[in-house]
Point group: C2
Chain length 308, copies 2
């Protein structure tokens, strides 16, 4: 099972999936478009969330960072007038240091990630989408902002005119992701933002074409017209889409086999058909307020794959 992942939504689903199938059967292909060098080391927000999830370190209140981490370095700098820009925890910083030292010692990002996974004792394969630098920028009323600057520093307040994934067209899919896609037929797109979380993965050359030959199931991160979390509405508008489960399906329609929408979603199967979306529509409880619901959703998804 290959899972395309961003932050928050998909990790919640992965938290169920790892209790439903053996961890070693899970390959997670992670968005690196939000990666950014801070304080000398590479922060990879979506990779880190997945690492912390699988090593039982994740702060599952916020769904990022390490539970009960301290912030001594960050706060000591702030106390004497230096603002680091992102609030990095002390243990979290260790992850960035290890990753970056592996890179400085000549490893690819994939290989550095594999070493990190080994340090964390993780048996699932956690793969960055690419070894090349790919960066998502948000074109806003305050200029072109790195996603982290838009979402963390600006708290998503600026008007958004466009989203572009810099470097994607010249980047290559990570060789280990290519291998995984050769070995495995099942691809799950988690309930992450289709523009800035899944979008950069799909923007890699040959990714969409490859997915056409796969059994692809996606879970909507929007219930009807209500995003579950994050800045997805603003970002979809910037791409000329309304914020709705139907628009999410449109993002994936070239290769999508099954689309999972929430049981309370007010759109009907015919609404999707009327928009030219040909995939099967399945309803489930997608609002993962507890790990129990995540497990149930993962169960539902495994049944879908059995039937595709």
């Amino acid at each position: 099972m290959i899972v395309l992942s961003g932050g928050t939504g998909t990790p919640k689903l992965l938290n169920g999936l790892r209790k439903v199938i053996p961890e070693e059967d899970i390959t997670v292909v992670v968005n690196t478009g939000e990666d950014v060098w801070i304080s000398g080391n590479l922060v990879s927000p979506d990779m880190d969330t997945v690492f912390y999830l699988f090593s039982d370190k994740l702060d599952t209140d916020k769904w990022w960072g390490i539970a009960d981490d301290s912030f001594i370095t960050h706060k000591s700098m702030k106390a004497i007038g230096y603002n680091e820009g992102m609030m990095l925890g002390d243990i979290d910083r260790g992850t960035h240091i290890m990753r970056s030292e592996y890179l400085r010692n000549g490893n690819t990002l994939t290989s550095a990630s594999s070493k990190l996974a080994q340090n964390f004792g993780i048996r699932a394969k956690i793969l960055p989408m690419s070894d090349d630098t790919v960066t998502t920028f948000i074109k806003t009323s305050s200029g072109n902002l790195h996603f982290q600057d838009f979402w963390i520093k600006e708290k998503g307040k600026s008007d958004v005119y466009d989203v572009f994934v810099d470097g994607a067209s010249k980047a290559s899919i990570s060789p280990r992701v290519i291998d995984a896609l050769k070995m495995d037929d099942k691809v799950l797109i988690g309930p992450s933002n289709p523009i800035t979380s899944i979008g950069p993965i799909l923007a890699l050359p040959k990714m969409k074409e490859t997915l056409k030959d796969k059994k692809v199931t996606a879970v909507s991160p929007i219930i009807g017209t209500e995003p579950v979390s994050g800045p997805v509405a603003k970002l979809m508008h910037a791409k000329g889409l309304d914020a709705s489960s139907i628009s999410v399906a449109k993002c994936y329609q070239d290769f999508l086999d099954v689309f999972v929408i929430d049981k309370t979603d007010h759109f009907k199967e015919s609404d999707f058909k009327n928009e030219g979306i040909e995939c099967d529509i399945i309803r489930a409880d997608t609002l993962m307020k507890s790990v129990g619901i995540s497990i149930n959703l993962a169960d539902d998804i495994m049944k879908i794959f059995d039937n595709v």
Copy 2:
């Protein structure tokens, strides 16, 4: 007053000096030959010791690092199998991050250091000897080691064949050090190791020539033939010198006006003269076991400068 400084010994003297004369009258020119990039940021051991001293943060048990610092990042990495090589404290790490971010933003090391001093609220001028990369290597039975690798990782155990200061001959004295030397006649060489602490400063082009025109007082880091701290004996032997106060004076004899030796030093003034050392020899209590002794020594030194 300009003070040439390395680690431990000279900071102890500075701790007295800053209680004897106004802090803003002190310019410290610091050895950067032990600087090293660790975990993405530039560690400057001697600069940091001086910063922490003047900002009242120094751990004065060890005479390096920050008092009561924690080691969460370092230990969390170690717990999952990654050895950082140097035991960096969490608050200490913040200093390295700020310095390196200032450098990455285009500042020189001098300018980055000035910003750091401002953050720390320090009124003394703390100047790196050079903005260029100068690195002290120890030629040992285990190969050429960075001073930090020799002293921290290897605990100074290897046999030492030679010491060389890489980059010194092509480096320039920091422009602010040159300015300070134009404005001030009094130069104090603290009781630091003459080979690896003061040696790199003296190895900079034109430094020795400039000192010839100054009133130079040096304090011996060796009492008779007993080094007060550190690996000085091994390093002096590698340079063909015995470990003695007389050999220290020889390192400085081209420009030295007054040499301060310990009141218990068994060498007599005539012993120095017999070795061709022409400077005045003054005795004082140089074993700075308390801040009171540091203050007395600083007082003695100020009297010396008044009489030169």
